[in-house]
């Protein structure tokens, strides 16, 4: 039977409220939503999630219809969201998978709100697969359904496929990679390709259970195609594991930094809004 994933009932509302949250909640000075706006492009009808401050009240007075002004820097850059679907993303509690899906939808929605064309790709056994391209804020539900229908992660990691990123459009590209980067060696070439985007961010996910490996019996599914492990974690192994985890995260963020990729370390215990907020704050701080 095919595993089923479903977002929480309030997830859609949280995603729709995300732009508002980012504007008011403080993404920091200079922070901008994916795409960014600076130039008047035209009017469109008010839709859910739009900022009321952008409503043109003159149009409303004349036509009795709510329209908002669309602003942009000419053509909005493309937003590329890449979600890792390798087996390691399916942890025991499913928290890592959930967070990755939530981030994908949230980032896609932000791109749509920003007027960008949003491209969603999965990185799994089949390499880099484009799941769809959407434009316009009304396609948010399509994005959400597409992400919700993704199968449970399985198989090996194909981060190397990042080498084959599609060429960016002339308007530029903001690229987001959602992964746990549990691969050895780290895909330096893929990160380099990612770094060639105008704006690139890496969401380095981990499950809370994996960050606080307490003593006891553990089984490891061998999600990366390795043989399953059944072992007893004691103090030595515990400390060695935590050191390896910290070392791994340090190596990933260092590699990302080298290629001008913002990195956000997120666990399934924190809400996706916080990770997005942190990402945009870094992006804003970096210019």
């Amino acid at each position: 039977m095919r595993p089923v994933f479903a977002f929480a009932p309030d997830f859609r509302a949280r995603v729709l409220a995300l732009p508002q949250l980012l504007r008011h909640g403080g993404t920091g000075s200079g922070a901008a939503l994916p795409g960014g706006q600076s130039e008047f492009l035209g009017y469109r009808s008010l839709s859910q999630g739009d900022d009321l401050r952008r409503v043109d009240w003159n149009i409303f007075a004349r036509l009795d219809q709510l329209h908002v002004k669309e602003l942009g820097r000419g053509e909005a850059p493309e937003v590329l969201v890449i979600i890792d679907r390798s087996g390691s993303m399916a942890d025991a509690t499913g928290g890592k998978d959930r967070l990755s899906r939530e981030l994908a939808v949230a980032l896609g929605h932000l791109g749509l709100v920003g007027g960008s064309e949003v491209q969603l790709c999965s990185l799994g056994e089949g390499g880099l697969v484009t799941l769809g391209r959407w434009r316009g804020v009304k396609r948010m539900d399509t994005v959400l359904q597409c992400v919700e229908r993704l199968e449970i992660p399985r198989g090996g990691t194909w981060l190397g496929a990042l080498d084959h990123l599609p060429p960016r459009s002339g308007a530029g590209r903001a690229c987001f990679l959602i992964t746990d980067a549990l691969v050895d060696p780290l895909p330096a070439a893929g990160f380099a390709a990612l770094g060639r985007s105008d704006d690139a961010a890496l969401f380095l996910l981990s499950a809370a259970s994996e960050r606080s490996l307490d003593a006891g019996r553990w089984s490891c599914t061998g999600g990366e195609g390795e043989a399953p492990l059944d072992l007893s974690v004691e103090r030595n192994l515990q400390s060695a594991y935590l050191a390896a985890l910290a070392q791994h995260e340090e190596a990933v963020t260092a590699l990302a930094r080298k290629h001008r990729i913002h990195s956000v370390v997120a666990t399934d215990e924190q809400p996706f809004e916080a990770a997005v907020q942190q990402c945009l704050r870094q992006s804003g701080a970096g210019g």
Partner: protein, 455 residues
């Protein structure tokens, strides 16, 4: 192996389930396979052995506790073979230079090898039941034709065909006549050889006089002999000659023995006097009324001892003077002495004044004995007093066996009648198992505690 409470063995299933739950890997799944492998490479601590040991300890502890609860008993591989020898005297009958008992023990040793204990018992059936209940293997040795023993006990019957004659009774009747009886056992070997019954009175000086000597032609033989001037120091010896294979019943002695002096004390009080009298040899103290040789105070008795009131008398200082009390003549005391009744003979004096006097069968102690309590004077005074009493004599026979041993029915062959049942002795292991369980679980707990502290 046996269990006192086998129904509790069902708990083994629960323990096994508990162990399985404890030992199975927890479904705490990780996907950080790569990091785990790195960690395992980084450390050489392969500590799964500790986990296995933990489970082994827990399992062994639980198993030991359960077996103890179920009352595990292990059959003793060398359950003791207890040999019960019938205390019947006829087992001492000699035949071919060995007694029946020795032949029986040799037969047991030859048949079953090791023997842990040999007990001589009068009631073989009861002793066998007791030993069987204690889990021992039991073999009874007896020369009785029919020996009743509990099921499971082995029986070795020893017997002989030796004819026997023996003295079965020896005593003095109320009229000081000597009574002697003899009996004999006739066997298939033929007539009993002619034996002669001799009765001899041996004086204290060693001189003997024969009072009877006649052949034992009839059986049983009983003779009543009128003896003249049988003294207390005399010993009457009855003897059958020549001796036969069972010599224990061929001679008996009759000696005069003094009966203990019975001293009657009042129901309460006279504690000092009681202690001093009880310290004397061959005395028997009675409290309350009853026949006695010496009655302290008023009451029945062959003799009486009167004690004066505590506050009566005139104070004297000096030392005792008596027969036995000479030993403490140097001990100076203060005593209040009452006046001696007229016509009384002084037995013990104190500071020249009479202290213990006698008038016919009445003795009078002229001071309060409590005043002499704690010193050696009072017991010595009592010794002088008791020396005045003549203890009653009675005659006691030694070496007389009952007629059953002498002429009762006996087996005629040595043989194993029944084999002892295999050992059903089960040693209870409950305490050892409980101790082992406690130790194992304690070690397990310590290891768990240490592991938790480390983590």
């Amino acid at each position: 192996m046996n269990f006192a409470r086998p129904e509790l063995l069902w708990l083994l299933l629960a323990a096994a389930l508990l162990l399985w739950i404890s030992a199975r890997p927890q479904r705490r799944r990780l996907t950080t396979h790569m990091l785990l492998q790195r960690a395992m490479q980084a450390t050489v601590a392969q500590s799964s052995w500790r986990l296995r040991w933990n489970n082994l300890l827990l399992g062994a502890g639980l198993l030991a506790a359960l077996l103890a609860l179920a009352g595990l008993q292990i059959a003793g591989p060398d359950a003791p073979l207890v040999v019960l020898v019938d205390a019947r005297a006829s087992l001492q009958t000699r035949s071919a230079d060995t007694t029946a008992e020795q032949r029986g023990l040799a037969l047991v040793a030859q048949r079953w090898g090791h023997t842990q204990r040999v007990l001589q018992v009068a009631d073989v059936a009861a002793a066998a039941a007791q030993q069987l209940a204690a889990g021992a293997r039991v073999v009874a040795i007896s020369d009785r034709e029919r020996l009743q023993v509990p099921m499971g006990a082995g029986v070795v019957q020893v017997g002989d065909d030796e004819p026997n004659a023996g003295i079965t009774a020896l005593g003095v009747d109320a009229e000081s006549r000597l009574l002697v009886s003899a009996a004999r056992r006739t066997t298939a070997l033929g007539a009993v050889p002619v034996r002669t019954l001799h009765v001899v009175v041996r004086a204290a000086s060693g001189a003997e006089r024969v009072v009877c000597s006649e052949p034992l032609n009839e059986a049983p033989l009983t003779r009543v002999l009128a003896l003249e001037a049988l003294l207390a120091d005399d010993t009457v010896i009855a003897r059958l000659t020549p001796r036969d294979a069972f010599s224990e019943d061929d001679a008996a002695q009759l000696v005069a023995m003094a009966l203990p002096l019975r001293i009657g004390l009042p129901s309460e009080g006279a504690v000092a006097l009681q202690r001093a009298l009880a310290a004397q040899e061959n005395t028997e103290i009675l409290r309350g009324p009853g026949p006695c040789d010496l009655r302290v105070g008023d009451g029945d008795g062959r003799h009486r001892l009167q004690v004066v009131a505590a506050d009566a008398g005139v104070a004297h200082e000096g030392i005792l003077g008596g027969v036995a009390s000479r030993a403490c003549a140097g001990e100076k005391m203060h005593l209040a002495l009452a006046s001696a009744p007229a016509g009384a003979a002084t037995l013990v004096a104190f500071a020249g004044a009479p202290l213990l006097v006698r008038h016919q069968d009445v003795f009078v102690l002229l001071t309060d004995p409590a005043a002499m309590d704690g010193s050696a004077a009072l017991p010595l005074l009592c010794a002088d007093l008791l020396a005045q009493l003549r203890p009653q004599q009675h005659w006691r026979a030694t070496g007389v066996l009952d007629a059953d041993a002498t002429s009762g029915a006996r087996a005629q062959h040595d043989r194993v009648l029944t084999e002892p049942a295999p050992s059903s002795a089960f040693a209870s292991c409950e305490h050892a198992l409980l101790a082992a369980s406690a130790a194992l679980l304690l070690v397990w707990l310590i290891l768990q505690f240490r592991a938790r502290r480390r983590s």
